[in-house]
Amino acid sequence: MENLERTGFSVPKGKRICSVCGEVKRLSHFDGDSDRCADCCEKMVRTSVKWYCVPIALIFVLATVVSVYLTVITVPFIKSLDEAEKFAEGSNLSDAFDYYENNIMSMAESIDASVKEKLPLFGENKFFVPGTETFERYCEICAMADSEYEAGVLVQELFDKDFIKKNKTFSDYVSVTDAYDKVFATVQEINGKYEFTSAEDLRYDEIIAQFEKEKQNTDSPYEKGYYEYFKASVTQFYYDGKDELVEKVQYYLDEMIKFLPNEYAVYGSTVADSAFRSGDYDKAVEAAEFVLSKNRNLTEPYEWLAKAYYKKGETEKAFEVIERLNEAVPQSPVYYKLLIKYNLLENNIEAAEKASAEGDAANGELCEMVFNMYLSNNVGQIKRIARQVFAESIDFKAYQCALLLLKDEKQKAFETAYNDSYYRAYYYAYITGDTSLLSQGVINMTTLCAELCRDKAAVDDISQYGMCDSVTEKVINGELSFEDVFINGKAEIL
């Protein structure tokens, strides 16, 4: 404008030059002080947007929709992780582990399946994965609730070998498992050289020296820890019931726990075992409380506690412990088993019968269901909980048999012992190769019932897995009565 004016061009009064189109127009064509005419302004307002941006914006919108969907499916999963953490914080480690095993892992699988159902473009590949953080915590809880050895087994079951190699946390667990297997093989080899059948012909000092030598030869702290554990085991065998037992075993286990801090359950059970052998019940109580301070969901320490208090003559405390077990692990078969056991020892048959009926009502269906899943080969889904369910219910059933024998219901006792106790343990062993559920107690009780019912075929069948012990033979021969073994506590067959 100034340039135009400088050249002598003058704009007529009441008009203005549009800076865009250059035309001289009346002031009414301009909006206020604007140097653009209304037509040009309108053109500038009406410039067309670049529609090629729309597909880009749509891609972002699609990504947002995907994100919202991902968040919606992930949040409940993360909430369930918090649930498991709550169990772990309250020292309910077994509950936390069960929660991981039965809820969280299956939840991840079901989320993945539902995503694939809606979007079948992923083929066989997984879409929703629980994430390394979840797996790390799962294995950590397994190590704390069970043992580092079991965590190693779990890691090997869960993960790809290359992934384990790259991840130190997981490869450490596998190292523990490998260390145990290696030490166990060496211990077997050493024991094989000495050929002992009883504590009397055991060359204790030589064996311990061999273990010590092997321990010195290894750099692995896990192997060192397991050598200490086996030293404790051999010591327990050698000093069975003698005064030196508790102290020596305790020394080796204290060494073990330095190398393997998560093996507190093995530590506690070995200390408690040696304490019972030597009659040091206070020590057994101490060991049980130590384990419970780490994991209040384990049922075994409650059994040691109840036994220790009962042996000390503190029956009331023994029953209090049983109730404590029910608080920590509600309606566990172990709870009902202990109620039957200690009510029988108190000669309170009525209370034992009540516990037996309640135990059946609380756990009968679950056990039946797990067993049926085994029969229909759905082992994969339940293999971890199955062992615990079977182990506990098989024991419970054995005590139920004791009650039936006391009531002189021999045939019913035999059916219970054979079908619900022995057969389940046998089938579990058949499927998994783990014969530990066919315990001496199960063999004793089933053989006793079979003999009493004169079922020779059943006796032969059971004898494949082991013979009943001398106390059971005495009961069969009538040298000991049912009252002696189940009520008076003169001897034990379970």
Partner: protein, 180 residues
């Protein structure tokens, strides 16, 4: 400084286009004349439309905030979903169970990149932010109370974006979370 700005805008190119698109639509709705409707000018106007300054406070607030809010609205779910997967659950590039490439990881990385792109293009041109600040400081009473904090945030954000600092901050946050 223009070089830094251009680099940050080129790196986040698709979100730049989307933001410019929102701006342009808003300019039309607010009837603000656009001098040059090109989004791709390789200068400090990259990703913006050359337009007249807004004349009222409300138009300034709308113009400076709406495109950014839309960007944030799209970006937040992406950042949240990828945060949950990558940091809370620690999803790794390979599936731990099968050893194959993890689809979830790839999806989450894409979402995080998209989120960063969008969040790097939330604020308007610094001149527009200054215009809003000026109008907010000149406003009276309630309008000032409401507009001033908004204007302050917009001005600060626009300043950071001007030097590509928002991009650096978001990339740093992403890397840092991986190490934590």
């Amino acid at each position: 400084m223009t070089v830094l700005y251009l680099i940050s805008k080129l790196v986040t190119f698709p979100a730049v286009m989307v933001r410019a698109f929102y701006e342009h639509i808003l300019l039309k709705l607010l009837r603000i004349p656009v001098e040059k409707a090109s989004y791709l000018q390789f200068n400090e106007m990259f990703g913006h439309t050359e337009h007249d300054l807004t004349k009222t406070l409300s138009a300034s607030v709308w113009f400076c905030c709406i495109p950014g809010l839309l960007q944030v609205l799209l970006a937040v779910p992406m950042m949240a979903a990828s945060f949950l997967q990558l940091y809370v659950l620690s999803v790794t590039p390979t599936d731990p169970q099968t050893g194959s490439v993890s689809i979830m990881f790839a999806v989450c990385i894409i979402l995080r990149v998209f989120g960063i792109w969008l969040l790097c293009n939330v604020f308007p041109l610094y001149e527009d932010a200054l215009n809003l600040w000026e109008k907010a400081t000149q406003a009276n009473g309630f309008a000032k109370v409401v507009a001033l904090p908004i204007a302050a945030i917009v001005r600060a954000g626009a300043f950071l974006e001007r030097f590509g600092i928002t991009l650096l901050l978001l990339v740093a946050e992403t890397c840092l979370l991986f190490f934590l």
